[in-house]
């Protein structure tokens, strides 16, 4: 019994605890760094559904979201943005900003069925968002202008992985002075 106690006493508990704490802290630090980058700098999102056809696929597209410009107020009409749905705060949706505050927006009330259109002036601090596919999108035409504060990010790149792959696989990237490779590359790109 005393041998067991001596052996237990011989284990460097203090060092083990210190080591464990520093490892856990390292992991926590990494998690925090990921959170901060994800929430305030740049993140990725998977976009699905028909409302942004043809800019984004029906079956799902990975998009890169820029969080900085949304926070600094650098979103302008024409940008595709990620925003918290005003109808369900747990849902994020992707739409295109069509009008900023003070703009007059004209839209078809019931596209495909009638030609009736309506014009609305966007109030202060709000934006008018619409899906690119006006026939299958629930957007400002139903729920009205949304407060700018709901915008969580601006989409700056669709399929970042594919774009990077195409950019890197373009032969000019590796062989800037080899004309025959450029010729080949163009062929490949056309084929794609």
């Amino acid at each position: 019994m005393s041998g067991l106690a001596r052996r237990l006493g011989g284990i460097p508990w203090r060092e083990i605890a210190g080591e464990a704490f520093s490892r856990v802290f390292l992991v926590a630090q990494a998690v925090c760094a990921v959170h901060v980058v994800n929430a305030h700098v740049c993140s990725f999102a998977l976009v699905m559904g028909p409302s942004m056809l043809p800019a984004m696929n029906l079956a799902g597209d990975v998009v890169a979201v820029d969080r900085v410009s949304a926070r600094l107020g650098r979103v302008a009409s024409g940008d595709a943005v990620l925003l918290v749905s005003p109808e369900d705060p747990r849902k994020a949706v992707v739409k295109r900003v069509v009008g900023m505050e003070g703009d007059a927006v004209t839209f078809l009330v019931d596209p495909g069925n009638s030609d009736a259109s309506k014009t609305v002036v966007v109030p202060k601090g709000h934006v008018w968002v619409q899906g690119d596919n006006i026939y299958a999108s629930r957007d400002s035409r139903q729920f009205g202008p949304v407060p700018y504060g709901l915008i969580t990010g601006k989409i700056f790149c669709r399929n970042p992985g594919l774009s990077l792959y195409l950019y890197l696989s373009e032969p000019t990237f590796f062989y800037p002075f080899a004309p025959e490779f450029i010729e080949d590359g163009m062929h490949i790109l056309r084929f794609l």
Binding site: R90, Y148, G149
Partner: protein, 166 residues
């Protein structure tokens, strides 16, 4: 070489604690200073942020967006996304509510809520800008932590007979 090493270490440590603090304030709880007189009996009416109350706002309620009547919430102003407001939550999505001062009864749309200041006489709230989307809410105020005379929980209280039991 020694001083450069020291500087590098200090910078690394600062960055680490900054990241950790930022994450905690984003996900769990944050500290905000409240100014203005719209919440007067609950928080001190103060014009500068030095004399205002400092409050603790929890963020974990944002995971599920479950609030109850009478909660004091922190939200982005619907007409200016840079401003944060503190008001009391009066009505939740889908409820019928009587507009103050009128016999009208309105239904709060899905995903929206109705917020009002405690000091009805000088408060700019849902009575002027209507129901706000829940997505604008950035936290729930739970405690006052400064000045020392007011330290304690912020109680949830509700004006009587506002929500119609329809």
């Amino acid at each position: 070489m020694g001083t450069r090493n020291h500087l590098w270490l200090a910078a690394k440590r600062t960055l680490t604690w900054y990241l950790v603090g930022f994450t905690i304030s984003d996900r769990y709880a944050t500290v905000v200073s409240v100014t203005g007189d719209s919440m007067h009996p609950t928080f001190t009416a103060a014009s500068s942020s030095l004399r205002g109350d400092v409050v603790l706002a929890e963020r974990s309620c944002l995971q599920k967006y479950q609030f109850s009547h009478g909660d004091v919430v922190l939200f982005k102003c619907p007409s200016d996304h840079r401003e944060l407001f503190v008001k009391r939550l009066i009505a939740l999505p889908g409820e019928w509510m009587q507009l103050p001062g009128t016999p009208d009864i309105i239904k709060i749309p899905e995903g929206h809520c109705w917020v009002e200041g405690d000091n009805a006489a000088c408060s700019w709230d849902s009575r002027s800008f209507g129901p706000i989307p829940l997505g604008l809410i950035k936290g729930r105020v739970t405690h006052v932590i400064w000045p020392p005379s007011k330290i304690g929980r912020v109680d949830t209280k509700m004006p009587e007979n506002r929500i119609s039991p329809l």
